[in-house]
Symmetry: C2
């Protein structure tokens, strides 16, 4: 196991601070009433490139020595990490090679292009994207960076929780979406180091409950093609994050697809915020959780806002 320490997180924060937004924490009386708790939403949907992923990507890119950095960085991503890595690389002035499945959403592909990432398309399956990434790395000499199973990434994502604990110091729990687990792993490290009385809760779609099953069985349980609209949470847990969640006593709460759509709509209509399905999962789980599992004051990490308007409208029409 690769340990991630609070010192790593503090160092990451110093490294990335000049380039990331210090995102606001918002509250909503209407949502407090619905959930029965005081909620503090840390709005990483308002982060540069539209998600928390920039924090980890920047920490990894800025940690490279000059010789490695010069050849650029590479990853495979159908989602926010590709855009975040392209932006992080452009901030350092080095190339980013992003392997993207042919069927990736328009808005995510456009974001990678917009930040100057060099896109290689591949068939939408794991062997194809791994082969495509290997070929890119061999051809360019770029440094490959995994979207979440990398200690530099986890330390970077943890900085969102450091800020939240500063902005809303009274929270007793922090609810965080879990896919690969970088954000929630980072949250567990930061909370343990800064405010050990704060419980970290991982929220995932009921239709993609691999984190819950992995923590129950004691080994990573991948799940092929889970049927959830939360496209950012379809990946299995990374090994580093599985170890952190296991040792830090992180528990998992589930959200139905209907609750995810309802949570997106509530954040749209009540908070005037655009949130992608994955980012609405913690609120969705809170709407469905029994009162006994909730605290009085709860932080919520809103992971991202990269959803195009037409897709959002279609999702919500289908659901209602």
């Amino acid at each position: 196991m690769v340990a991630v320490t609070l010192a790593d997180v503090r160092a990451a924060h110093e490294r990335i601070r000049p380039y990331v937004h210090f995102t606001p924490v918002f509250t909503s009386r209407a949502l407090n009433e619905l959930v029965g708790a005081e909620l503090a939403f840390k709005c990483e949907n308002l982060q540069r490139a539209g998600s928390f992923k920039l924090r980890g990507a920047l920490n990894a890119v800025l940690s490279l020595d000059a010789a490695s950095a010069a050849r650029g960085v590479a990853t495979h991503s159908s989602g926010n990490f590709g855009a975040a890595l392209a932006l992080a690389a452009s901030i350092r002035g080095i190339p980013a090679y992003i392997v993207v499945p042919e069927n990736a959403p328009r808005i995510k592909r456009a974001a990678i292009d917009g930040y100057g990432g060099v896109v290689t398309e591949c068939a939408p399956n794991v062997p194809a994207r791994e082969a495509a990434l290997d070929a890119v790395v061999v051809r360019t000499g770029a440094h490959p960076i995994h979207p979440y199973d990398d200690a530099r990434i986890v330390a970077g994502q943890a900085t969102a929780t450091v800020e939240l604990l500063d902005q809303a110091p009274a929270v007793e729990q922090i609810w965080v979406p879990v896919g690969g687990g970088g954000l929630v792993g980072g949250a567990a490290v930061a909370a343990r180091g800064i405010a050990p009385h704060v419980r970290v809760v991982a929220a995932e779609p009921r239709n993609a409950d691999d984190a819950q099953r992995s923590l129950a069985s004691g080994r990573i349980e991948p799940m092929p093609n889970p049927a959830t609209i939360a496209d950012g949470l379809r990946t299995p847990l990374g090994t580093i994050n599985f170890a952190i969640l296991s040792t830090h006593g992180v528990t998992v709460e589930l959200a139905s697809e209907a609750a995810i759509v309802r949570a997106m709509r509530l954040m749209f209509e009540r908070m005037k915020l655009v949130v992608e399905p994955s980012g609405a999962v913690p609120l969705a789980a809170l709407l469905e959780a029994e009162a006994s599992r909730k605290a009085r004051r709860i932080g919520v990490l809103v992971s991202g806002g990269n959803v195009d308007l037409d897709a959002l409208a279609d999702l919500i029409k289908t659901a209602s």
Copy 2:
């Protein structure tokens, strides 16, 4: 003419400050590039009750002496002012009587109900709503408050500009939507008093260009049923605001309906913010204005975010 002074604005700010959000100012590199200027968006869509209207409503309600206040307040409104007055009255603990046309949007009617406003429906025309309001006032003894043609309202709305000038002190222009003119009238008073070098620009739909025509002809030019999606900007200028705009050298810029939709989509996809059509009009006008009419650093008042998701999706589908 009823003058509104900077002292009135300062007094309003002290009065309402405990009850309103100090809304954030956001920036977007992508929108700066599109417009060719550095934009500072004052986000009153994130204000309580979803628009700047709470500022004026609260100032009016909190200015009443105890005896007048006890009988409540009344207004006619198909839009954000009704919800804002209902919330302001609930904060003071007095009744609010709101006359609403039968065809008002679902979300706006629901907001008035949610804040405990007492709704009276009327036919959707000016004589019917004036008659309904008169009847409510006679029956209840409530104090009638006009949505924008009232010095207390203008002084309250001006506080948004006071905050913006503090949050983004380098702006050279401030672009503000104009309907009845309370927000832009307040902006002109605040800018003249605090930063007289800052130019205030009123932005309105090309299809509802009554403010531009009124300033050109020297008298208020009402416009029956203008065909614009910016439902908050269909009203004629108030007399107080017409006088302020005339004497403070406020100029008008126009926005096409297509630009309004494009601006809403850009704020949704790039800034992750939900903005109602009226609130997107200044950005729309900036997208269409010649470079010579823009400054290098521009403040933008985003007036509100009360649009329901289905309505927004329909608007944008119709337009594309």
